[in-house]
């Protein structure tokens, strides 16, 4: 840890910046919207169950209960211990995973994370590698962290982020494994959007796009795309508002047993994230 020099730099930022950050107001969430939406969801569930439509509309999934105590409304509860692990290369990543004792270090980070570590440790080929034109992507080793493993991220599930550079464009490709997600039953034809909606009631989709989502996204479009290995997948294309940090485009889709999310890492790569790019993407 290099405290002294970094600490000097960040410790010497200008007074007005410190003051602004110290005084920045807490944004209150509109609880009426939150509870209203929750009430509406519950009412809808009640109506659906009464008229028996739920069997056809959610036939792909087991019945699940939304945890109303959780603001994220994820059906998978958050684990008390979360961790984020960083790796500089594929080799570095696999070396850690192949260590038999590695998974023992994270016993308290949740069953899905444990399962992912165990499966990866047992089976060398368990993890998919993102590939471009059939070749494993080139990682972009900024600050030594090219692969980031979250024990819990979206939907309170573990995610692996691959930071890569393709044709000089920086991208992040995120992968989440569904094998041990037994909280919902996932049919073979369920899309990312279908699965996500079951995992989190607050998940934005093209179908449910509303005023609240408009604050974050310009648009959300559902479309079928064909990947490099000719697999056709149903993708949700999220076009973020420019004032939401950076102009970001994000393709999210389900491929076999994984959820995938690919987005540009910098503003310059924005145009690069398109159907053509996806047609060269695959997982090996």
């Amino acid at each position: 840890m290099t405290i002294p020099r970094f600490s000097n730099a960040i410790g010497n930022i200008d007074d007005d910046l410190i003051k602004a950050a110290a005084e920045c107001k807490r944004k209150k969430r509109n609880t009426w919207i939150k509870w209203g939406a929750m009430a509406a969801c519950l009412s809808l569930c009640a109506v659906l169950s009464i008229i028996g439509l739920h069997k056809s509309s959610v036939s792909s999934y087991k019945t699940y209960v939304i945890d109303t105590g959780n603001t994220e409304t994820n059906i998978i509860p958050a684990e008390p211990n979360k961790t984020t692990l960083y790796y500089s290369s594929f080799d570095d990543f696999y070396k850690e995973l192949s260590n038999d004792n590695y998974s023992n270090n994270f016993n308290e980070c949740g069953k899905h994370f444990n399962s992912l570590l165990r499966m990866s440790c047992k089976n060398n080929d368990y993890l998919y590698e993102p590939a471009y034109n059939g070749e494993r992507v080139e990682l972009k080793s900024l600050n030594g962290n090219s692969i980031v493993l979250f024990s819990q991220e979206k939907f309170n599930l573990p995610w692996i982020w691959y930071c890569c550079e393709i044709d000089g464009k920086k991208l992040v490709i995120e992968i989440c494994y569904l094998d041990d997600v037994d909280e919902i039953e996932i049919s073979d034809d369920a899309s990312y959007s279908d699965i996500s909606q079951c995992l989190s009631s607050s998940y934005a989709t093209a179908k449910t796009f509303n005023e609240k989502d408009r604050k974050v996204y310009k648009s959300i479009i559902e479309k079928n795309i064909i990947l490099f290995d000719n697999t056709e997948v149903s993708a949700s294309v999220f076009d973020y508002n420019e004032d939401n940090y950076w102009h970001r485009k994000n393709y999210r889709f389900r491929y076999k047993n994984i959820l995938v999310s690919a987005w540009n890492w910098d503003e310059e790569s924005y145009d690069y994230i398109n159907d053509d790019f996806m047609s060269a993407l695959s997982f090996i």
């Binding site: 840890m1 290099t2 405290i3 020099r5 970094f6 600490s7 000097n8 730099a9 960040i10 410790g11 010497n12 930022i13 200008d14 007074d15 007005d16 910046l17 410190i18 003051k19 602004a20 950050a21 110290a22 005084e23 920045c24 807490r26 944004k27 209150k28 969430r29 994220e72 984020t84 900024l142 600050n143 030594g144 962290n145 980031v148 979250f150 991220e153 979206k154 930071c163 004032d243 940090y245 950076w246 890492w265 910098d266």
Partner: protein
């Protein structure tokens, strides 16, 4: 009480100055110290040391921004104390936060020719170029050492969004430093 009046109390060598500082900024100082030290007793001592530091510095110093002045002293004292503490006693969040940024900020080994002043200037310039929310999230994390959960609550973001902002901003900072001729 107005900051200028508090400063005047220090100039008058009135002990009321410390009481007023404590009333106005005690909570903020304690939260900074606690985020770093993760221990109420140590934090309390650091806050008291802060008041002594302020008392000794004013006069002759007449800070133009009293709040930032007090925060800076608390932060520096807490980090000094942290260095003396056993590793297992340290706050994991702080270690992680410092490690995260240490990897994008040059240290003496890799950038011996870059002066600290230069790095300070570049960091300030970089932060000023960011959008308000991004800048404030970054400062709350790496200056005040707030946890991801606290930042998410403060800004009304999801934790995932906060992580994204920090991840992206760290990398952007690194790119910026490289572009400005600071080889990492």
């Amino acid at each position: 009480m107005d900051d200028l009046k508090i400063i005047e109390l220090y100039f008058d060598r009135s002990e009321q100055a410390i009481k007023e500082t404590d009333a106005k900024y005690g909570k903020l100082c304690h939260s900074i110290a606690y985020n770093i030290l993760n221990n109420h007793e140590d934090s309390e001592e650091c806050v008291n040391d802060t008041y002594i530091g302020v008392w000794n510095a004013i006069p002759p110093t007449r800070p133009s921004n009293f709040m930032a002045f007090v925060c800076r002293i608390t932060r520096n004292l807490s980090l000094k104390r942290l260095e003396f503490m056993k590793r297992e006693k340290r706050s994991a969040d702080v270690i992680l936060s410092l490690d995260e940024l240490a990897s994008v900020m040059p240290d003496d080994r890799y950038a011996p020719d870059v002066s600290d002043e230069n790095v300070d200037k570049l960091l300030n310039k970089f932060l000023r170029a960011q959008k308000d929310d991004v800048r404030n999230v970054f400062i709350r994390k790496y200056y005040f050492f707030d946890s991801i959960g606290e930042i998410a609550e403060r800004f009304g973001f999801t934790e995932s969004k906060v992580k994204n902002i920090l991840f992206y901003t760290r990398n952007k900072l690194r790119d910026y430093l490289i572009k400005e001729g600071v080889e990492i």
